[in-house]
């Protein structure tokens, strides 16, 4: 078969154009398939999850009786071990004194009444999280869809850079196998962790996916904890944050925490 140079160039050109269309054709074909993985239909969805901790309400509850409902609820739901050692303890949510939670925000006179008062602390799910920046394996990452700073325990190599990076002490390392130290009844619906991984609060990502509020928020009888989507002008947290004076931990670091405190 004889081909003229002209017709050869023509067909060659059209074929080359066809190559450009290939990726688009692939997309079209893929769309006709059923999606394999989707969001839970009843999941709570948000763009910017945040929490407001009203310490006044919490303290009022504490006056009536010692209350640890939020701490117990969180640690039960997530199979958090109880290890009696400051170095090895695992904490997702805990209490600490004002001067430790808000260092550098203690004035000589106007915060004197707050010194020594217990504050609830947890992972701040920062908008600009230093732990995510330093993680060499991307085991910890910020979820683009809702801003939760997540841990992928499968990927964690236990280097503890994130613990050094976190200015809030929100991360704990499993120096030993945590399973024998889980004092609460095992939650069969949530995994435990193993020796050599770092863990922290996950804003109850697994509960949000089931349409439930975080365990601590649900457990708080005083209504001191509010959770919601900051991006939604009608959400509880947005209303509180835009109408009342709130504090955030170590604002000077520019991490933009998403846990707000009413003092």
């Amino acid at each position: 078969m004889k081909t003229s140079r002209r017709s050869f160039l023509k067909t060659g050109g059209i074929a080359a154009l066809g190559l450009y269309a290939l990726p688009f054709a692939g997309e079209v074909l893929a769309e006709s398939d059923l999606p394999k993985a989707i969001h839970n239909p009843n999941a709570l969805r948000g763009e910017h999850w945040a929490m407001v901790v009203d310490m006044q309400k919490c303290w009022k509850q504490q006056e009536q009786k010692q209350c640890k409902e939020c701490l117990v609820a969180c640690h039960t739901v997530h199979n958090v071990p109880e290890i009696d050692s400051i170095k090895e303890e695992i904490k997702w949510i805990w209490t600490n004194n004002y001067e430790n939670v808000f260092p550098g925000q203690t004035d000589d006179f106007n915060t004197q009444n707050l010194l020594g008062k217990p504050f609830i602390a947890l992972c701040n799910h920062c908008t600009n999280p230093p732990c995510v920046r330093v993680c060499p394996t991307k085991a910890t990452f910020k979820r683009a869809e809702d801003g939760i700073v997540m841990m992928d325990f499968h990927r964690c190599i236990g280097c503890r850079y994130c613990m050094a990076g976190c200015p809030y002490g929100a991360r704990s390392f499993n120096f030993r196998d945590p399973q024998p130290y889980i004092k609460t009844e095992l939650n069969m619906k949530f995994p435990t962790r193993e020796r050599g991984v770092v863990e922290k609060c996950n804003f109850c990502a697994e509960r949000l996916a089931d349409g439930l509020l975080p365990a601590c928020v649900e457990a708080c009888k005083a209504g001191a904890l509010s959770f919601g989507d900051l991006a939604d002008p009608n959400s509880v947290v947005r209303k509180i944050v835009s109408s009342r004076f709130t504090m955030r931990r170590k604002p000077e670091l520019g991490t933009q925490p998403n846990v707000y405190y009413i003092v």
């Binding site: 993985a37 989707i38 979820r143 435990t192 193993e194």
Partner: protein, 137 residues
């Protein structure tokens, strides 16, 4: 052709071959029987259509890739519902979905993994974190 010191060489060779193949002789006839998967858990028995997420053959050869995909989708992408080819949806969770039906981990998971020479508890290391179902034995 003449081999120098043929006697020593041949005897040496014979000893070498015998020693080298010793493990084969030692284990001859002791082949472990192929494991039989136990699918008779209470939940499975009550199912009208005994169908896993994928057809049996695909699950047998591809469950590890599937678990890997599920992990990525759930942990990293936040997608927790799997839509099977027949449109049925599943919760992508080892503890909440897989082990719900396959509640017999020792008979279902371990048997094959041990047979295939994967060390129990270390490879695959699912159960160092994930909680295995309590089995009544």
């Amino acid at each position: 052709m003449k081999i120098y010191d043929a006697r020593y060489i041949l005897i040496g060779l014979a000893i070498f071959v015998a020693l080298f193949t010793l493990p084969f002789w030692y284990n001859m006839g002791k082949a472990a029987p192929a494991p039989e998967l136990k699918l008779d858990t209470p939940v499975i028995q009550q199912m009208a259509v005994k169908q896993c997420v994928l057809p049996k053959a695909e699950m047998r050869t591809g469950h590890m890739q599937m678990l890997n995909d599920w992990r990525t989708w759930v942990v990293r992408d936040g997608l927790r519902t799997y839509v099977a080819a027949d449109g049925k949806t599943y919760n992508m969770s080892l503890q909440k979905e897989c082990m719900n039906c396959h509640s017999n981990k020792t008979k279902f998971c371990d048997q094959c993994h041990t047979y295939a020479g994967l060390k129990v508890g270390s490879v695959p290391y699912c159960w160092t974190c994930h909680i295995a179902p309590k089995e009544n034995q």
